[in-house]
């Protein structure tokens, strides 16, 4: 046998051994490579999630140490605003530490794990294809489905590791081992569902950013359906069951544990993966479902400035976000109606709540509910805004900033264009949150609070949003490699916004979140001072960003 023939035979046996038809060849190698490449990133994600469990278990244990305190908390959890932020409310009658952790934390852990999983899937499949790097890999002895399968295995491994560690933390926190296991498995399975969703969305669009956005939009819709269903009826209505997030929560863990609601999740994962494989087999490497169309031979007269260019690059993403988020807040706004209905029931069953919110005939409950929806809208807009601001970094890394700056375009003008478009987009999303919620409420006949109140409430967040985005811009301008820390800031803002009160975090910590300073209109009265101070901080951060960007090398090392 000649030498090449020997090599072929060896390669051949490896292909056969690796999977049917060789489409999975190289999976193991890719998996190891992915683990190696993402070791830091995955460690940070995993540690953050485990730390969240640990912190919440410990803090809840300390803060709500007596049955009385826990029942007071349970009473609070029956409000629509709370249902929106937690779960179907199993175990509220006897709100043990376990029931509390499961009801209030599962949604958010599932969110964190789902975001991690979706980003990992996209990063190792579609984004690699988009960049052209996958071509190098696939030209080796690597099968068609290997990258996707390896990415899915990667996500599986990480979720299992997180589940094991989280389970250990819960048990150490004094919770029952069996129930803890079900809880962490439920969270992991939910994350895998959305990872599988991402595998499918990666086949639909040629752009990594779009694929991740679509998958996360599916999570948003699932969260919304769950909330709507659970607001309609304590312990969830039929509507709730249309959401994979509800399946995890319906295990009634720590109350009356049942496993079968996890079956649909497992089945859905398999179905989605099969769908993904079918779609992947039908398309060309690097292609989406739609072919690229031809375009104009010459530019429109309006395409003549860095701002026009940035707008051209970001407008599609913004349009989809505005549409998706707008619909979501519109739907949320319609729940306000249900809130009104709940108030009567609440006053009877929960005198404690009635005492807190009932003084003004339940209006406080509606206001609190609206404030929560608006907070969500602002957090989503921040997510969009940070991603949009950090696009400047991608422009630079891919060499397009260099092309633009070699023209008579100053550093300030270029960065200004990127930031104006990104931050105006975020502002549009914030206001769309206010407008969508108001329209939703109006459409079901609720006109108190008045529509303009929603807009005012949304608008009062704008300076705080500008602070966060200004910080992202300053990080990018001074230390481009640390720009990703802006996401950590978002995580902080999120934790403070969602858990600040429940965990009784000290004001010094909560105050780190710019959003914390903003009065929660309509539940609180608007105040001018925080708005002015935040605006001042935002301006300072932007000035710093421009100063830094003028000084440094482009591309940065």
């Amino acid at each position: 046998m000649s030498a090449p023939a020997v090599a072929r035979a060896r390669g051949g046996s490896r292909l056969r051994g690796a999977g049917p038809g060789g489409t999975l060849a190289g999976t193991g190698l890719l998996l190891r490579f992915m683990l190696r490449r993402d070791r830091v990133r995955l460690a940070v994600w995993s540690a953050s999630v485990v730390a969240l469990w640990l912190y919440v278990v410990t803090a809840f244990g300390a803060l709500y140490s007596t049955a009385e305190e826990r029942q007071a908390r349970a009473a609070l959890m029956t409000t629509p605003a709370s249902v929106m932020m937690t779960g179907p409310g199993y175990g509220l009658e006897d709100y043990t530490l376990g029931a509390m952790v499961a009801n209030e934390l599962l949604l958010w852990v599932a969110l964190a794990l789902a975001i991690m999983s979706v980003l990992e899937i996209v990063r190792h499949t579609r984004a690699e294809e988009e960049s052209g790097r996958a071509e190098l890999v696939r030209a080796g002895a690597v099968g068609r489905h290997a990258p996707a399968v390896a990415a899915m295995l990667l996500v599986l491994v990480v979720n299992v590791v997180v589940a094991v560690l989280s389970g250990a933390v819960l048990v150490a926190g004094g919770l029952d081992a069996g129930d803890s296991a079900v809880l962490v498995v439920a969270a992991a399975l939910t994350a895998l569902v959305f990872a599988a969703v991402a595998v499918v969305t990666c086949q639909l669009t040629a752009h990594g950013r779009g694929a991740a956005g679509l998958a996360l939009a599916v999570f948003g819709a699932a969260a919304l359906v769950r909330a709507a269903g659970d607001i309609q009826e304590r312990h969830g209505s039929a509507l709730s069951w249309f959401s994979p997030i509800a399946w995890a929560q319906q295990t009634r863990v720590f109350v009356d544990t049942r496993l079968w609601p996890l079956v649909p999740s497992a089945v859905l994962v398999v179905l989605l993966l099969v769908l993904g494989a079918v779609l992947a087999s039908r398309r060309d490497h690097g292609a989406g479902m739609l072919p690229d169309r031809r375009g104009r031979a010459d530019a429109r007269p309006s395409l003549r400035s860095p701002v026009a260019l940035a707008w051209r690059q970001q407008r599609t993403a913004l349009a989809w976000w505005t549409l998706g988020a707008g619909l979501m807040w519109l739907a949320s706004g319609t729940y306000v109606d249900g809130v009104g209905d709940m108030i009567g029931d609440l006053a009877e069953t929960n005198p404690a709540v009635a005492q807190i919110f009932g003084a003004d005939g339940g209006q406080g409950l509606v206001d609190a509910f609206v404030a929560v929806i608006l907070l969500y809208a602002v957090l989503a807009a921040l997510g969009y805004g940070i991603a949009a601001v950090l696009r400047a970094g991608a422009e630079e890394a891919e060499g397009r900033a260099e092309v633009a700056l070699a023209l008579p375009v100053s550093r300030g003008r270029w960065l200004g264009a990127q930031l104006v478009v990104a931050e105006a987009g975020a502002a549009v999303l914030v206001l769309a949150g206010g407008a969508g919620t108001a329209l939703g409420a109006l459409s079901v006949g609720v006109d108190d609070p008045a529509a303009w109140t929603y807009l005012l409430a949304a608008a009062s967040y704008l300076p705080a949003v500008a602070v966060v985005l200004g910080l992202a811009a300053a990080l990018y301008a001074w230390w481009p490699r640390l720009a990703g820390l802006a996401w950590a800031v978002l995580a902080l803002v999120f934790v403070v916004g969602m858990f600040g009160d429940a965990l009784d975090l000290p004001d010094a910590v909560q105050g780190l979140s710019p959003l914390w300073w903003v009065p929660r209109v309509p539940a609180e009265d608007p105040r001018l001072l925080p708005v002015v101070v935040l605006a001042g901080v935002a301006v300072t951060l932007h000035v710093l960003a421009f100063a830094g960007f003028r000084r440094r090398d482009v591309p940065a090392r």
Binding site: D298, A299, R304, L309, T316, L405, L407, R557
Partner: protein, 323 residues
């Protein structure tokens, strides 16, 4: 601002002296000297990682020099970037375009941002599109590498500027398009534009460049006109002589002398430094020359010598010529 950047008549288009640029511990530029006079096409050569792109980015005010003197069209490339960029066009080594813009849109945008307007510019654009056989209606992300490069070249040659800064502009072009590029470069030169052309393609440099600078590890090891550079290197000599050629080995500028018997004479081969050729000829003539050939170095050899590692090891003349 404009007055400070006006070019002094006759001043160099590019003037770099003792330029250093470090990235952490990497010395990308380590005392680089480079001058491009107005109307001159200057070749800029060097092995991978020699610092060509880094030098060009410093010239464009993208990178801030660690130390050294840099003037571009009479101005300071960092401080006067915007004003200077109106007067130059740049083609990067690895052209990256906005993926959702068509090639035509990208060309228009680049022109408008530079301030080019009007009929003449549009005509010029059309002419260039035809010469490069480029379809402007395709989205940038669907262009091949060569076609992306053409987009940047069309934009650069369509611009009415004094200086073209081209970083390996032909690395993706097919031979026909390379010929178009060479033609355009000649036209640019005829119009009096200055050009800095970084390249690895010897024939291209040989065809169009007036001067050449070869850099290695961030410093210039050769610079001058092509003739000068040839002059500074060695020719290979083969001769058959009647007398004893051994004393030739002792002459300055003669290297690697070897002899073999050839009939009743002696065949001798050696390398000689071109500027010593006269003395060598004078020494060979009395030996009874029966045949004599001297082969000048090809450009290729010239470059290989500087790209390869012999430079450090031997080649006395080359080291001596480095400035």
């Amino acid at each position: 601002m404009t007055t400070s950047t006006e070019r002094a008549p006759g001043g160099p288009a590019i003037e770099i002296h003792d330029l250093r640029k470090t990235f952490g511990t990497t010395h990308a530029l380590d005392g680089l000297d480079l001058t491009v006079r107005p109307g001159e096409v200057a070749g800029f050569l060097g092995p991978n990682g020699a610092g060509k792109s880094t030098a060009i980015r410093v010239l464009l005010g993208l990178l801030r020099p660690t130390s050294g003197h840099v003037r571009l069209l009479g101005g300071d490339p960092w401080a006067d970037a915007v004003a200077l960029h109106r007067r130059l066009a740049y083609v990067p080594g690895d052209v990256s375009l906005w993926p959702n813009l068509t090639g035509g849109e990208a060309i228009d945008l680049l022109g408008r941002l530079r301030g080019d307007q009007g009929r003449a510019a549009a005509r010029r654009r059309q002419e260039l599109l035809e010469r490069f056989e480029l379809d402007p209606t395709k989205k940038a992300r669907t262009y091949s590498k060569g076609n992306r490069q053409k987009v940047a070249l069309v934009a650069a040659f369509a611009a009415d500027v004094e200086l073209l800064v081209l970083d390996e502009p032909t690395s993706g072009l097919d031979p026909l398009m390379e010929a178009v590029f060479t033609e355009l470069l000649r036209e640019a030169k005829a119009q009096g534009r200055s050009v800095l052309l970084s390249s690895h393609i010897m024939s291209e440099v040989e065809k169009v460049c007036d001067t050449v600078t070869i850099i290695r590890r961030g410093r210039a090891v050769e610079s001058g006109t092509l003739q000068e550079l040839r002059h500074l290197t060695r020719s290979a000599v083969t001769a058959v002589v009647g007398g004893d050629p051994a004393p030739l080995a002792a002459l300055p500028g003669v290297h690697d002398l070897a002899t073999t018997a050839d009939g009743d004479g002696t065949r001798v081969t050696f390398d000689v430094e071109n500027d010593q050729m006269g003395d060598v000829l004078a020494a060979v003539a009395p030996l009874g020359v029966r045949s004599f050939t001297a082969t000048p170095p090809s450009l290729e050899e010239l470059f290989l010598r500087h790209y390869g590692d012999e430079l450090a090891a031997g080649g006395g003349s080359a080291t001596g010529a480095a400035r």
